[in-house]
Assembly symmetry: D2
Homo-oligomer: 350 residues x 4
């Protein structure tokens, strides 16, 4: 019963195989080989535009480097109060820009809206020099609550950001799951709605270690290679990333894996709703399921061998958890099996 | 004729195979799984001591994080004037500590000695607050000139560093090549001679992407996990690094690959010495060969399809290059073939 | 009617005179002269302990340097959500430590309590590596709401901080006003209640430019001189700061000035309460008065020549401001005159 | 015999008096008052152009902030190997840009020439991403050897910098002494010869604490206020700086003080040349005199009560100092008296 997180799985066999296939021979180091350029072209095909692709080592690096590319002294990035960049990256975005401040915007289920953003930006701009200057807005898609922003909200948020002269960044650690959840194209969920920079994650969705910062506006990307180099995020054998992405995109594997993960997530949600030990905290949209139940039921589930996370309820959702209750998170992945889902069902039935 | 650099090769097949073998099933993310711990134990066996092992994404990250672990405000790291950390890492060591200064110590063939180091440290300490404070000493092994420090010199340099209360760091991007060149053990080339922190490189010697900061003194490593995390250098699927190192160390593969690379380097050096187009700039000790020849011979060699680097002669060795001459570097690797060496011989014969 | 801020005044004549008096002759630069040491001794007399005194250029520098002295990678400083360090220093504390994160603790009237702090620290510690590590706790005294923490609350907050192994910092930009307000000694409001580092402000209370970081625990101050030097905060003619502080402390001038400012603040509060244009937002404890009134009354008051600040109501006090109302802040200082107070009374009467 | 440094003196009486004169009344804090603007206008008059004036706390801050205003990731500033910014500011320029690297350009007597600069820049640009990117060129005027760049050399250096797309910064801690030494105008020694940013020092030349970053190209200064604020270098009572500069410039006081200091320096040099205990290391151009003599003569001079600095001979001038000899530095200032010079003469005669 492996529902701890989507990075507990290994790589999809097709991706592992492609690494072996691309292993032979000598290739220009540090990126920029013909093979690397060919995979970059695939990104452009998939995103239907002339996007710049910058590989980095981790999702945290993608977020921190993407945001530092538009850094300003005294810069403030507005993001959800529970955003991964704000509370789960050990100060990486602050560190990479030597002091970026991540200011919270509140909202339910991991999302904020354009009006809340407008208010939050206003507070900074009214503060003059003291409050620093707005640097960027960042959304997570999927959010930390496993929900998705709908396209209109993304567009409205982008309008606010652009109205204040700053770019919109998207933490796309689960970009594929969100695209599948919304049934839209990658372009529709990004630049067509005003997203300027995407942290495009492959690792959680079936790669070994494949993350990229996608930059749609060339102005934002001019310093990116220097930023990556001085951060130790230019892999010398870059083709090992290209080989993963090549297989990731081939024949739509990436969407297939995300669809599987989302389907498995929905089945987990269905089981939880059907069994009476836990209740769904809210309806999942992707591969992450949040549930609430008695603390003793949480312990019992763990004793039965289920792997999941104890979850600190977001501030806006604390009211959903009763006094003797706790919140848990179960995550499905490309590798989640029917057997694991069935075992969970049994464990919750008992 | 692939002699551009040792990171133009892919991964050794045994390492690629092991990645596939370790792909199945679910494993705790972010390191610390049983498998990760088992591979860490292998490091301890090989180094014959209780070393702490911290994976990072690149050699640049290993150097910068290793040095930032002992950072001080106004800190100065003393290193060779041609050290990779000083001139080839785009300011990474400076960036990771928000301002470390890398001060040059001069010396021939990529090496400085204990006496030069003592003088250089004295200049800083005499400068009081203005000059900052000594933070660490760093040596490269192999050096940027492809030479190796002998064990006594390492020990003498360590004594100077420790006498001033600072640790000795070793940039071991080519650690294996140096161990083979010196015919010593990993322990003898590191902690037994006073080295406190090693950037242990696997990538250039047959891995895809496997680097680690090795910390022998627990005091130096206390903040390392936070440093790695905030730098985006904790790979979530850490087993993909462990799997590489597992195969790397199994049955002495790492030393076998380095020995092959060094042997091939020696054969390249022999060919250059035997043919009259170029002369050896100096005797190589590992897998890197530096040669000097007429500029037109350099062009001719490139036209014949040889891949190598045009090399900026180090300051101390500029006198070796005549007016119409240039310096080149040829690097052998685990993957260098007899055919490539033979082709080089033909190209230089013509 | 000068109530804009306490730094719109110049220096107290006694302080200006002392600068002139200490102007003659040659004195060792960069601090450490006999005269500097003598003034440092005065600090120790006043604080009744062996405190280390580090002059810096501004209150922002004092806060940022004091907090960076205890910096850790991924470090988190807990402070009130409206703390000056968090929202009014343009990211200085984040910058000086290359990435400190300032996490909000909520509370009314600019203060949080020990229980809220305990909860907030718990959230970080439960988050493991991702959430970073607690670095320090910081309180402002006076707070941003012009209120004062009572001594027991300071002690309780210090206990929580120390229980988690981190120091307590106090932003004492208005330290003198707080000491007078509480009727306690400097020692009682600092180290006797567990405060480890104080940003001791003289500028707002009658100096030209005199701020110091006071460090009670030698462990926290070991790197301070290097931190100040690399931040450009060691004034070469340090005696110009010493001369200010000498006069500041002589014959209790500093407390006299603060007492005057507090009294004038109380009179302003009395006038506001007595006149019916505005109401006191809350009872002031020092020299800052916050009032709420109709937006048209705010405009009218400005038109009559009164200088004050339009004030963004703190989140916890937004309910105090009605729809067509606004909050303003009036600040008294050592230089506030009876004439100005009388003029304000007339302006509010009209 | 006060020749230790020009910052051992206090402030010129006219400057001290003006501080008192400008003390009364209330003035807008943080700069930007009518009075501040009026003094800024004086800078523009004196520099005959529309320069932006940014006060900061110290010369180190001026240099570090001026250079960080044009920071780039992996940025390299080229400066003389003995430049104050490189060896005497405790890593401030590196810190303020979170990692700027200061690369040495060699040259005699504290100066490099355009050809050496061109070579040094070439090495960086040829190094690609690894070597980082050129960020700025910096010269000191007076240099660390007390010499002055002539105007043509400044112009030639500026041409090289601009030819590579980067600005020229001038560390003008002793700007006034250099202007007097060259007999030129401030404009001729700065923007008319291509200087883009000047650290304009008033402290060493008779102020208490008055330094400014002067920015001639508005593009370079856009972020300066945010940079200063987050570094704690915006003095709240900014008029105390304006008041100093007002008096500094009034009736040419600044040039008069510098002329006095230079004259006194020349007299000190004359005495040293006339007496046979020491010889001039080289001919001084401003207020700093470097001399070489037997170590016992150095001790004897100190015993007679002379205050001066033991000086580490610059690398390029080490050959000037014999085995049992040492180098010393004597500095004259606006406050140097005839009596002190006469006493020195006696001390050297004995």
């Amino acid at each position: 019963m492996h529902f701890a997180s989507d990075n507990w799985a290994g790589a999809h066999p097709a991706i592992a195989d492609n690494l072996a296939r691309r292993n032979g021979g000598f290739v220009k180091a540090n990126g920029g080989s013909d093979f690397d350029l060919q995979v970059e072209q695939t990104f452009r095909d998939i995103f239907e535009t002339d996007v710049a692709v910058h590989y980095v080592g981790t999702g945290t690096a993608a977020n921190a480097l993407g945001l530092s590319a538009v850094a300003r002294p005294g810069g403030v990035v507005l993001c959800h109060s529970e955003a991964h960049i704000r509370v789960d990256e050990c100060g990486a975005p602050e560190f990479f820009a030597a002091g970026t401040r991540l200011e919270s915007v509140d909202g339910e289920l991991g999302r904020f809206d354009a009006a809340s953003l407008e208010t939050a930006i206003g507070l900074i701009e009214d503060g003059g020099l003291n409050a620093g200057q707005v640097q960027a807005v960042s959304v997570s898609q999927l959010t930390e609550a496993g929900t998705a922003y709908d396209l209109d909200t993304i567009g409205a948020i982008a309008d606010v950001a652009h109205g204040h002269g700053v770019p919109l960044h998207m933490d796309g650690a689960r970009f594929a799951n969100a695209v599948v959840a919304l049934g839209c194209t990658p372009a529709e969920m990004s630049w067509k709605r005003g997203v300027d920079i995407v942290s495009f994650g492959g690792t959680k969705n079936g790669c070994w270690c494949a993350e990229a910062v996608l930059v749609f506006n060339p102005d934002h990307g001019r310093q990116m290679d220097y930023l990556r180099k001085r951060a130790g995020h230019i892999a010398s054998k870059a083709r090992f990333v290209s080989a993963q992405f090549e297989a990731y995109f081939a024949d739509g594997l990436w969407l297939e894996m995300a669809a599987h993960a989302n389907r498995m997530g929905a089945r987990v949600a269905g089981i939880i709703a059907a069994r009476n030990r836990f209740r769904l905290a809210w309806q999942p949209q992707g591969n992450e399921v949040f549930a609430v139940g008695p603390k003793e039921a949480v312990d019992a589930l763990a004793e039965k061998g289920a792997q999941f996370s104890h979850w600190q309820p977001p501030r806006a959702e604390r009211h959903l958890v009763g006094e003797d209750e706790a919140m848990i998170r179960l995550v499905a992945s490309f590798a989640t099996t029917d057997a694991d889902v069935a075992a969970l069902d049994v464990a919750l039935a008992g």
